[in-house]
Symmetry: C2
Subunit: 422 residues, 2 copies
């Protein structure tokens, strides 16, 4: 089945806003085993819109149009959809009533120009929007079924998932139950992960489980898309594959599905009634900045200390003897001192010794980190290459992931793909 997307709006066309709706829709289709063949962006311009609709209607089986459903004069999607479909615009009484109820619930009077949002091409199928006033709809143009969606991201997302994906799956003749299982890992590169997981799809011989990746350095998201007749069927199919992914990735899995590394750290600390101090140098607040602002962190992340110079780091935690250089031992000494100084149960110390020289791809830094409680200390030394930003991002992630490993009783020194072996 050929699917196309048409994005509309001057703000998108002129680059004033980055078109994240497009990548969202495209990813979501991939997740459901559907795929996109063509994308078009045009502005709020009658002639371009009409031409884009007609061309897509000749090429595709299904087209998702995003934007242009608002109440203002430059929102043209309904008008041009009607023209391209060769029908008139007609007032949809049902949607008008829905909108009036929407405003009444919010104790507001509906502005008269919102009525425009209930004018749909005659015969259009309504796609419900439970969280906004822009009515989605479906019509046929040329040989394709067109699905019109609002530009507001949260409205689009909900409509796509609840209304459009099921219709597309039905149209494609696919079993309609689909489930996406996700694993978040740190330390395994995408091509290495692909090799590690070779053959896992084949554990379900009928091909209904599909493996995919999305890398956002330094994290990797591993996705299993499973299809079946219902959720029980899916769970049965997915179980052996999930188990195998967990086995092969082992300690590298930080979190699954909607959970995050930060969330896992906070809940582990909460479980043991722990409190945390974070001490960092070159990462300059970006380790503590990942966790301390989260709801629930206010009782757990008690203190963050940032200093660029080792002598300042030591002064900040009341350590009188300043080590000669940034080493694992120095990080350990700071971690011990931080516990005593701030009276928390846990401390995480991330120190970075940057190489000299210009900021190029070959530029590297040495990360020395330590995690301490009253009874146990762990530390790690690692070289990261790739320029200042890369070193900084890598050090932040390594610090947080080693803390996660420490809290879960896992080794903090497992080799990762992003460090340089010396």
């Amino acid at each position: 089945m050929r699917i196309e997307i048409i994005c509309t709006g001057d703000e998108v066309l002129t680059g004033k806003i980055v078109n994240s709706n497009f990548s969202y829709i495209s990813q979501k289709l991939e997740d459901f085993g559907l795929s996109l063949t063509w994308e078009t962006t045009v502005g709020d311009d009658r002639e371009s819109l009409l031409q884009a609709f007609q061309l897509a209607g000749q090429r595709a089986d299904a087209v998702i149009v995003n934007g242009g459903l608002g109440p203002t004069v430059d929102d043209l999607s309904q008008e041009i959809a009607a023209k391209a479909a060769g029908v008139e615009l007609a007032l949809n009484e049902e949607w008008l009533a829905t909108m009036e109820a929407y405003f009444m619930k919010r104790a507001r009077v509906m502005p008269p120009n919102n009525k425009k949002q209930a004018m749909l091409p005659a015969g259009a199928e309504v796609l419900d929007n439970p969280i906004g006033t822009a009515c989605g709809f479906a019509v046929n143009i040329g040989k394709a079924r067109f699905f019109f969606t609002p530009g507001v991201p949260r409205e689009l997302r909900r409509m796509l998932e609840e209304q459009i994906v099921p219709r597309l799956l039905a149209k494609a003749g696919k079993q309609t139950a689909v489930f996406l299982k996700r694993f978040h890992s740190y330390g395994i590169g995408e091509s290495h992960a692909d090799t590690l997981l070779a053959g896992v799809e084949a554990l379900v011989p009928d091909g209904s489980v599909k493996l995919g990746f999305r890398a956002h350095y330094p994290q990797l998201e591993t996705k299993l898309t499973a299809r079946g007749v219902d959720m029980d069927d899916i769970r049965r199919k997915l179980a052996p594959v999930e188990a195998e992914v967990r086995k092969r990735f082992g300690n590298f899995i930080m979190a699954e599905d909607d959970r995050t590394l930060e969330g896992v750290i906070l809940s582990e600390l909460e479980k043991c009634q722990g409190t945390l101090t974070i001490v960092e140098s070159f990462t300059s607040g970006q380790v503590v900045g990942r966790v301390a602002h989260l709801p629930g962190a206010e009782k757990i992340v008690r203190r963050g200390i940032v200093a660029r110079e080792l002598s300042e780091v030591c002064a900040a935690v009341g350590l009188n003897i300043v080590p000669a250089a940034i080493t694992k031992e120095a990080a350990e000494a700071v971690a011990h001192a931080a516990l005593a100084h701030t009276k928390t149960t846990h401390s995480l110390v991330v120190l970075v010794d940057l190489d000299e020289g210009a900021d190029r791809v070959e530029f590297a830094g040495t990360v020395c980190l330590a995690i301490a409680t009253a009874n146990k200390i762990e530390s790690r030394r690692s070289r990261i290459v790739g320029g200042r930003d890369w070193v900084r991002l890598g050090a932040v992630e390594m610090g947080l992931d080693c803390l996660r490993r420490y809290l879960q009783g896992l080794p903090v020194n497992e080799r990762i793909d992003f460090e340089k072996v010396e």
Copy 2:
């Protein structure tokens, strides 16, 4: 002149990477008074590429194609360009020599498949790429001039600016000298800025200076695009408009052109041989994280202290009497204590008192900030509405901008558009 963009590549089409090249090209064209009418994204697929090239060649006068110039088998741009233009691929000896020199300079042997990058449609005009091996080129397809560009962002950007924009301006019959003047401000919303600057374009009656905005909350970028016969002409035209923008925006301008708020702060502190301590609560490291990692900051930003609870903030700076609540006076007391405790010349304190309740658009927080030196203290209280993330971003920017104002001897208490008046 009708200009189109064609983005190519499976990674872009499937949403694996967000297409920031597109918005970059589109913005850049706008900056030069050129504008885009249509954008198409297709994958690494011969049939789609050919069709996309042919359609754009029928509609447009100029087309910029991005991606597909690499050495691997799925890089198809040259091959399909030749087919669409009705010519053969031919080895460009000059580019082959350029590539060989490129590898030699880096003491590497050119892999054989890189030779593919010197195969161009016969008669194509070469667009130089001084920082990569992908050769840009221009050919005619249909009635349009096509410009083929590499997918690597820094290579694209340089080629666009140095090679393509001048050709487009010449093709459009525009005076070729163009200059973009930029102002970065914080505290004035886009529509307010538009009102404030009403009429500034008219100071140059021939219409050669154009005003535009780009908002990236909480900062606003104000752009003046000026065209003229040469740079002297442009400077003469721009001078009165620039002066007027500076006058109307006044203290709200943080930096101009490539300078940044962070850079201005660091250079002001360097000028007075100052050292800085930053103390923050809910922003949790995100104030210090904006400046401390920058080159040159290691001698200036001496200490960052993060704590969520006011009692912890006080403990961290050795303040024995804990204020009852987060107020301007509390922030001032912490700022004084921080100076004494860390022995820096300057301290910036950003404390946030979050409202109770769920995180919705109506959710607000109170920011109390203070900046101190041995002789002078300034402070500010402000209410920010818009949900947890909005409050956090607003507090970070307000803290840094007030520090900039303090260092430049400007009032830190000027009212901004993003705060709630009580």
